[in-house]
């Protein structure tokens, strides 16, 4: 959410913080409840880098309150705002360059330009925003109804609702009859598809239907209202129809990696915050009743801070953290014997969690892996065809894809695909984390820190892989690898600056390597062959370099 910046909305102690990036120094200041940044440049500016001019700038807005907080500066040019190139990581309690919070290619400079918030971010980070970007000059008279995501975003406009309900007789007639009030939309009372679209208006990969619609949006904002059947001026991108849709073809012409940066090759969404694309492709959705609100609620139950904090993590209904989310419809699996027969795992194990097998962690965002919202079955064939890690190998990190294929054949009679040699002999997680693109590497680095995977696959063999991943070209992958390494015994307090210069990164990796050497047993161990480790626990170098040569180095952002 976007909030007006002030000492009451900033997520940390702001005053006096000093930051530096690419030859510019930033001093954060508070003054009578307002926030400012003093910028000075210590070297000539790179004209390619969008950097704010030296001087004192007021921070006027913040975005984010759960994981990261971003800051926006006034430019003194109408309502155009610019981004402070640093974000605050709330859980880690540290400042970091903004670009290091996204999965961005190393050569990518600052991601956001002046006015980017007005042109794009505010579309979904405010309620009923109107960019009002001038076509003829670099001026923006941006307006919003409210900065946060407020009532109107999900319940449609409230003017009529408020005026009609000033009549108490009308209100009590509704209370006592139980009939819905037709002056307002309640997503709970909409069918599954319309209810999901309320969330999907932002939580989807969408685009404008045409230039006319984009211009209308620019002046009036969204004409979609909760309860409508479509997004009005916009459409939800379906990668499977990209060839047929001239608008999508046009986007791809401008950005050849548009689809592959957002979707797995079979069309499943791979970035977070766009869960609607996954939901609509789920078999559950076809029934017409299933919606985002089957599991999520936008209003916290309970009043104390603990309950609200628990709810704000994914905004799930309290009872929806376990299998109850699925047994609402698939009631047969409330029976322990039936569940175990289906999952072939103990009922209380992570292998019997509906989520873990049917909504595995295959989407990326916010410096972590997030559950896929396209309900699906684990499939070795899909992993082979798309490169998307399957649920089995995200937990059984030490197993090969061939092993998964054999198991799925035995348990669920899935056909065994033709498996290449590496996928028969090397653990799938290792192949993805070495050969995969940056998105796959991020997912696997995260999985190596995921407790259920650590418990079933062991952690002794993951040290060298995580330490190696801390040298990844992508800052975000380095961050995740370091965080996972800290979840391993002996590395809980290991510091590493994932945004440092390359030489400092290598120093940190050497330090981690030496620490690991001092921690591990001197005795030689026979690691299973799929782990690609020699008897000392080191990665077999020849194999590592052979696989690195096959890495998918496509820029991912």
């Amino acid at each position: 959410m976007t909030q007006v910046a002030g000492t009451d909305t900033v997520a940390t102690d702001f005053n006096g913080v000093e930051l530096s990036l690419n030859g510019s120094d930033y001093t954060l200041l508070e003054d009578e409840g307002r926030l400012f940044v003093e910028i000075s440049h210590t070297k000539p500016l790179d004209p390619e880098e969008p950097v704010a001019p030296a001087g004192r700038h007021e921070i006027v807005l913040t975005t984010g309150s759960h994981h990261l907080q971003f800051y926006w500066m006034a430019t003194m040019n109408t309502r155009v705002i610019d981004q402070l190139p640093f974000a605050y990581m709330i859980k880690e309690e540290r400042w970091t360059p903004m670009r290091a919070t996204f999965l961005l290619p190393p050569a990518q400079g600052n991601f956001y330009a002046v006015g980017q918030w007005n042109r794009g971010c505010m579309d979904c980070h405010t309620t009923q925003g109107r960019p009002r970007v001038s076509n003829v000059s670099f001026q923006m008279d941006t307006q919003v109804n409210e900065f946060g995501i407020s009532c109107a975003a999900c319940h449609s406009e409230g003017t009529k609702h408020i005026s009609k309900n000033q009549n108490p007789v009308r209100r009590y007639a509704h209370y006592l009859s139980g009939k819905p009030d037709d002056t307002i939309k309640n997503p709970k009372r909409l069918d599954g598809q319309k209810a999901s679209l309320v969330c999907g208006q932002c939580h989807s990969i969408w685009n404008f239907s045409g230039i006319t619609e984009k211009q209308e949006w620019n002046t009036k904002g969204s004409t979609y209202r909760a309860g409508d059947e479509s997004l009005a001026q916009r459409y939800v991108v379906n990668p499977r129809e990209a060839e047929k849709n001239p608008l999508v073809r046009n986007i791809i012409a401008n950005d050849p990696h548009y689809l592959e940066n957002r979707f797995w090759p079979d069309g499943m969404i791979r970035v977070t915050g766009r869960e609607y694309n996954g939901v609509v492709d789920s078999p559950c959705y076809a029934g017409g009743e299933f919606s985002c609100l089957s599991c999520h609620t936008m209003h916290a139950k309970g009043h104390d801070r603990t309950e609200i904090r628990a709810w704000s993590d994914d905004q799930l209904k309290p009872e929806m953290r376990g299998n109850a989310a699925c047994t609402q419809c698939h009631g047969q699996f409330e029976n322990v014997a039936a569940l175990q027969e289906h999952t072939r795992h103990q009922a209380n194990s992570p292998g019997s969690s509906c989520y873990n097998c049917h909504m595995p962690y295959t989407t990326y965002g916010l410096l972590k892996a997030i559950r896929s919202h396209q309900v699906s079955n684990p499939s070795a064939l899909e992993s082979l065809q798309t490169g998307r890690p399957n649920a089995c190998n995200l937990c059984h990190l030490d197993k090969t894809l061939a092993s998964t294929a054999d198991t799925l054949k035995q348990w669920y009679n899935q056909p065994v695909p033709t498996i290449p040699v590496d996928e028969k002999t090397i653990a799938a997680s290792i192949l993805w984390s070495i050969k995969g693109d940056a998105g796959q590497r991020a997912l696997l680095a995260w999985s190596m820190g995921w407790k259920p995977a650590q418990e079933i696959s062991g952690t002794e063999w993951t040290y060298p892989y995580l330490i190696r991943t801390m040298a990844d070209p992508y800052e975000a992958v380095r961050f995740i690898a370091h965080r996972s390494l800290r979840s391993l015994s002996g590395f809980e307090d290991f510091d590493f600056d994932y945004t440092a210069e390359p030489s400092a990164i290598m120093d940190g990796i050497n330090e981690a390597y030496l620490k690991w050497q001092s921690l591990k047993s001197d005795e030689n161990t026979a690691f299973p062959a799929p782990l690609m480790l020699n008897s000392e626990g080191n990665i077999v170098n020849r194999e590592l370099h052979r696989l690195l040569a096959q890495r998918n180095n496509r820029p991912v952002l």
Binding site: P168, R171, Y172, Y175, K301, G302, H303, D304
Partner: protein
């Protein structure tokens, strides 16, 4: 009005006032206990209306109990007061209906609105206004003993 009747009225209002005071102070203690126990039924954000209704019931009930005690003492103090029976009835009914309406209104709430028990509140308020106006007028025309 004969002394015996006046004395009876005094006793009536003192008796009602003190018992009412006891009842609504007890309600206050119960409300504080609900805070202490952090009961969602009373403290949840969605139950703000209930909290407001119960608080209003407590404060009005306590205030009107004291008003009844004061009226009892007023009758004793001003022997020539033209204390008509309807004044007494209005004062007692007002002291029951108004806080009672808040209490009933808060037992069930519909979003930001109380239940229909709230309808007792305007009735109680009118009755209480009649009582206080009549008593003020009567006091105004009374010569001091």
């Amino acid at each position: 009005m004969p002394d015996k009747t006046l004395s009876s009225l005094t006793r009536r209002h003192l008796r009602f006032g003190w018992w009412s005071l006891f009842a609504f102070l007890t309600l206050g203690v119960v409300l504080e206990a609900l805070h202490g126990l952090k009961l969602g039924w009373y403290l949840d954000v969605s139950n703000e209306t209930r909290r407001l209704m119960f608080t209003l019931a407590h404060t009005h009930g306590t205030l009107f109990a004291i008003v009844n005690i004061i009226y009892g003492l007023t009758i004793r103090e001003l022997s020539s007061l033209n204390a008509r029976p309807y004044m007494s009835s209005c004062l007692i009914w007002g002291a029951m209906l108004l806080p009672g309406g808040f209490l009933l209104g808060g037992l069930v709430v519909y979003g930001g609105d109380p239940s229909l028990g709230i309808l007792f509140v305007p009735v109680g308020a009118i009755v209480m206004l009649i009582a206080t106006f009549s008593i003020a007028k009567a006091v105004n025309t009374t010569s001091r003993r």
